[in-house]
Symmetry: none
Subunit: 335 residues, 6 copies
């Protein structure tokens, strides 16, 4: 009753090093992490976010102290989200690229403080819109796609001029990547600024706590007409291929955990593009609260999940847990 | 500044029906669900499981009442786990297939009560072993693979003789599927009983609450030498192909959520086999506790996750939430 | 005169972090390295190897001091080659698995000194054969394949019994992996010991300095009738597939540099197996001497080559430069 | 203990002719070689290059005598690099296509002396730029891509008008192949002149000695923002596909040895294009110096490497060793 | 009215060297040729074959003089066919492997005269059968497959013992390759002798002249029940895969010209095996007679056809024109 | 000594019907044939062509009688070639589309006589050019591609206006299909006229007799700079893909016999396009003369070749043997 010789697997996993060799391309290093930061227009504030215990929004004057130890531990890239409460919102997202925009103000500072840090900026209109939608609207409340991508391209170029290395449009309007690239070309910035496309961004309930963090909940309706339906793997393929044809330099899948098959599908189809997975606020909450309740140890569970994301094909993971992970890596905690 | 004509996606998602058409093969019906049940040797007991709020272990005499409304709502398959606390454990797993084994005792009852219900039985030695490991051990504490698969085959055939429609070996010993099939053939049962292989069962921290439920924690060591390392997608390929060559009728990936890329890989590689995804206890806990804390609404989040599993390629989902889901389906709640 | 939008590549490589993201799975960590060691039967000796400046052969009593700092820097696996000059050679390779064999003697010591170190043993007959060929010969000087693989299996099992975690047959006899696995099964060692097959080992002039190191030059003829001809990518495919069918747990391509296309071919065809690339002595010499002559800086060139091997698909690189690389990694030198 | 019948490989490699049949499409003939030549503006000089022992730069009046015996041995193509030291350099690369450019002056001579010789010209701005970069610069020192490809197209067309059969842009600016083709079309030269694109040119330390030969080291900075990062196999895919879409007639991978997997990837993806591999100066140095030091015999090692390049998929190898190889071929030395 | 830039092809074919680069792996060298020879049992005879003008059958004592100049021009392999007219034929093919068989007698001579020449032997029973069929028959005239492959294996091993490097079974009985390999294994010859399988041998009218040459026309019936029907590309796939599984070292397609799609199919499916194409007697006749009648120049047409065979995927061409081709190659005639 | 069960092939070919089932999609019916006709400007002549025994050129007044019996036997399509000897030739191919052009004159007649016959017209300039090349020339004798495709488009549209159902450009200029389609669009004929592209037309010696037939030999030079080199399967891929992108409706490979691998490649790559194979004059001559000399029976050989073309992937065969084949089909001769 012996199995066939090539049916023995135990021989391949009987020593810790053998097990690591089975997943040797799935390590987490600081280069595999991008840290999302909410930058507010109250420059001296640090505002803890209730829905995401352990995460805060920062004013410019609080950011250097927060980031310095992280950069020392290897942090190499950040993703900036602007959040305004003092500045007014309107229906053209005026402050998305005004001189008072907190992101535009903080970029030169960050480049001065941390010259090697890569600075990516989320590009969307919703945080600056009175109605909270990601695009300019027709009078009937539906999206005006042409005006939206024109506006989004302007915002992206404003961040590029302020010094951003990467602009990351999250709005999901049709044609936005092409519009951004075209305006970057016209401004002779195309060779200096990369576009990280939220290529497969799904409409998801796991964004719940983020909306609180970014103060970006729509005043009416939802985003189902421009974000992808969660069952739409075909649309994700179309959307990713489209963004590549329009000039995207890097791709993203969002959310990450319940969409690991989409991560895999994207990497299989476009292995020639760096792939990002965004571990969203609802995922943060699930891990955090279940660990709090003793279902598992947070560190062990998070490491298994990060490994799973890398296994599925993510090159970089955008995670609110980044400071904690950098600590582990520094402490030579093995993942 | 118009996108290329084939770069418009909004047109494909602007109406709820359009969005459903994008994922039209991803419905959840009762046939897409298998309900895991812990059967205990205290025949009149119902024991709530602390680590899994809302889930209980049942004695034989409590099971009919629990299942009757579920079968009425469409429940079509169950997966039985035996748990003993009165019967003694030893190092040969004597009670895994003794006449007093709760699974062996309950199968004829279930067939009598619910003649159309498909009965699957988890097959492993750990719940009946004094040391809690899934196989027979050498004196040095390592697995004796040959004796283990011999014993596992005996247990599987015992459940088959008791009337099980499906035996599901979860032990991860090398060659177990082949050994079971061989013994089924010798007993002329091979045409009556299907093997559902835990083909890609990973060593995971998300099993935590289950070990409490099934009282199956090893007394020493861990299962890393026979369960797959979480980063080992290559081993999952080898293991799945092997089980198919040894005669598996159906395949399983376990855990499900953080392994959706493995679900996809398995379906891509072996589309000709029904694929099961096991939403394990740690996943149950994450969804439950985050919803409790208000991160999202449980029903919406669970529906999104079930949809994701189906999208990734799972034909059947093994879920502790099955009773709740059957309720929604009955209430014609759309997923 | 603007290129198409997706024809801009500069935007993807304009910042150091962007460039790293293009090759983020190609890092070198200690887990990606295996260190080859020549163990001699002069137990107190350390013999520098003329043809490989900076590399020595070690007697058992000199090995602990040599390895201790390397293990401290993260060394996780070694590949042992036995070299005898005191013990006699014969035409059955008696001392390949005698109790006096230096590899058999050193294994228990290594496990005692470095309990977490993975120990792999090269398995061949040539270092112990009076004629220096890798197999038992017919009277006409050609290989007797049947007797050869019988003998090789005995040697492999002897190393396994001595405690080796991995046996690595380098002889290239037909059917050797199957013979080894079969004997491991009979000895109930198959679950504890992995087979790393020199699956694509080519007949190459780049082995020159090694033959001096291992004192393994054939007394007559060459190895062209059992090693693969360098142009034979088809034979490499056949040989790799064959070894997998016979039970190999891991695969190797040797030499590495001039065979990076074979590394890629092997990883493409069998992604489910960890892949090793052996940077052989002639490659060591090329890098060493060209750097000495000022053609380039050794560290920069070696890092580019290691990166290339990883890019081509190698999971682990077997390199004589391992101590130097561990130093760089420890000094946080980026690769 | 007999292997399966199809597991015997020795039968396929037991005779020299059998071994050759395993790699029968990997021969080296004169048609598989392109000879790179440095042409200087000191017309009567032959300048040995220190960093590349055995290689010289030639003035026009020294070239005929150098090439005559090579053409007699079958040399069928050359790749010309202009090097100036008498003519001034500036920031527009004026002398890249002036009437005094040594390449433009030598082309008509070569066509007169050797009417059947195919003449390819490297096209770049760096040898004629005061700053040594491959493109026209912005005032901030970064590349002005639009002006660069305009200028490169002018230079390519100047060589075409002078009689070149092939222009080979090595600059790696975005859109250069398209710009060249467009200008060739406007000049009605497109049917007479082929474009050999340096499609996958990596930033590499192996170019060291060449920079001395071509006097083309940048005065500041490096070429990492326009040459591909060595780990970027995805970028190589993008870059190659782009160049084909822009009209490339032939493709090149550079360097060759440490990029054989890229050679294979390129041939696999675009089998319909002749593929060139450039054995660069650092590769020359490695082989030369290791052979000098006795690590192996130069001829045997070079033949193995040439065979490897052909095996990986290179149709033509650009090599400084060309004169030596032509000698061997003439002497009926087998490769 | 300009085509797209990548729609210009003339630029790729405007110079003879450019055109050669488009087919650079399709050269004909002596290694790409195998010369078929009919060896008769009239040892001092040379018999011109009427149906194949320019081709003769040779007795042993005439062969050395015929081959010496060919070997000098590079001939590296021959394929021997035995033809008997003095020895009797019977229904067991007794003289296929008797000591008087002309092939068995000539092999040692050839090895003595031309030690580097590879000797392949056609293996079939028909030239020695009174009924002229390729296998042993049942009494009803149909093939007895079991007895046939037993007998064919004996013949193959007899040639192997006589010193053949390659045995080439042309009989098309089911299982003959496996039978030969098994008997080679039992005789410990398997590592010394390669099997070249007539894997895709079609029933064809183009064999006409050969039957005269080999005196092998069946006395009754035809070979349609064991040779493949010309339309059966599916059977060719099955047959080729089967022969590989049974241990074939090399593959053949026969006839060649009207089956170039089968040559391509075979190379695509099994690139890891050297592929032979047999230019049969009817093809010889077509080229010969059309050239005689002035339809084209024989040399130009033959070169185009040889090139086509190489392009389709043939590594080696078995051709009666071999002496003429060797002449051209010697005269440096380019192909 | 029994083969594996799936290694028996005789069972699949033991009955004539079984053999036919192996190639059941490879029949020849009249729909699989296109008949090439040379139409001359001597309207009452029938001129036998010496180089193609049995084939004639026809004046308009002789054509009806020749075609009537063929149409009765099922002839469904013809391919017309114009040949002039009375009309003058010049360097703009004036008479290619003049009102006196024999093709333009015969089309309306054919449509009147045989209303259901599909009429295809070869489109080229060479029969009407004083220099005999296929395009308009520069003063230096090279092709002026822009003027050539302009002229070719005019000719094609002239045939279309005369009533041709299909225009078939054989000139191999870059961009001709696109130019024709553009002009058809402008003339509002694009929906009525299909383009059959000579997509893979190779420079071949097998055109010899045709040049006599069509009186189209170039006065100087050859067509190697616009027809594909016979070894260029990559160019054939590029050329076919290009023609499809430019609007080709159907594809052709020419010649057929020595290019069956190209037929297969074309069908594999573009199965969605009807594929034509042109059995050229040299192929006609080979079959004819070898049959005359008794090498084989013409009918059997031709049937095997037609079957091979269909097997390789040709949907329609253009053959001078068409009248003879229609006879066989009419006589219910099976193929
Ligand atoms: Zn938004
Ligand atoms: Zn268990
Ligand atoms: Zn050896
Ligand atoms: Zn340059
Ligand atoms: Zn025969
Ligand atoms: Zn023409």
């Amino acid at each position: 009753m012996f199995p066939q010789k090539n049916h023995y697997l135990h021989s391949a996993i009987g020593h810790p090093t053998l097990r690591e060799w089975q997943s040797i391309n799935h390590q987490i290093t600081p280069k595999n992490l991008m840290y999302p930061i909410f930058v507010i227009d109250e420059e001296n504030e640090e505002q803890p976010i209730d829905a995401m215990p352990g995460v805060s929004r920062f004013g410019i004057n609080r950011l250097r102290a927060h980031l310095e130890p992280l950069v020392a531990k290897g942090l190499s890239s950040v993703l900036l989200f602007g959040v305004i409460s003092q500045l007014p919102k309107d229906d053209q997202a005026f402050h998305a690229d005004s001189n008072e925009n907190p992101v535009i103000k903080v970029i030169p500072k960050l480049k001065e403080w941390f010259p090697e840090l890569l600075i990516a900026c989320d590009v969307c209109l919703c945080p600056y819109m009175s109605h909270g939608h990601c695009g300019v609207l027709h009078t009937d409340g539906t999206i005006n796609n042409s005006l939206s991508i024109k506006r989004i391209a302007e915002v992206a170029v404003a961040y590029a001029k302020a010094g951003a290395h990467v602009v990351a449009p999250s709005d999901m309007m049709d044609g936005r990547v092409g519009a951004i690239k075209e305006l970057l070309i016209k401004n002779d910035l195309v060779h200096k600024v990369a576009v990280l496309s939220y290529a497969a961004k799904f409409s998801s309930t796991f964004y719940g706590p983020f909306r609180d963090a970014a103060k970006s909940k729509p005043a009416f309706g939802d985003r189902k007409c421009y974000q992808l339906p969660p069952g739409g793997e075909g649309l994700a393929l179309r959307s990713t291929t489209r963004d590549i044809q329009e000039g995207a330099d890097m791709l993203m899948v969002k959310p990450a955990l319940a969409f690991l098959d989409i991560v895999k599908q994207t990497k299989q189809t476009h292995p020639e593009y760096p792939l990002f997975a965004y571990q969203v606020s609802g995922e943060y909450a699930m891990i955090y609260h279940a660990a709090q309740k003793g279902a598992f140890e947070l560190k062990v569970a998070l490491q298994e999940i990060l490994l799973s994301m890398r296994r599925a094909g993510a090159d970089v993971i955008i995670s609110y847990f980044t400071p904690m992970i950098l600590d582990w890596l520094t402490l030579k905690s093995k993942i």
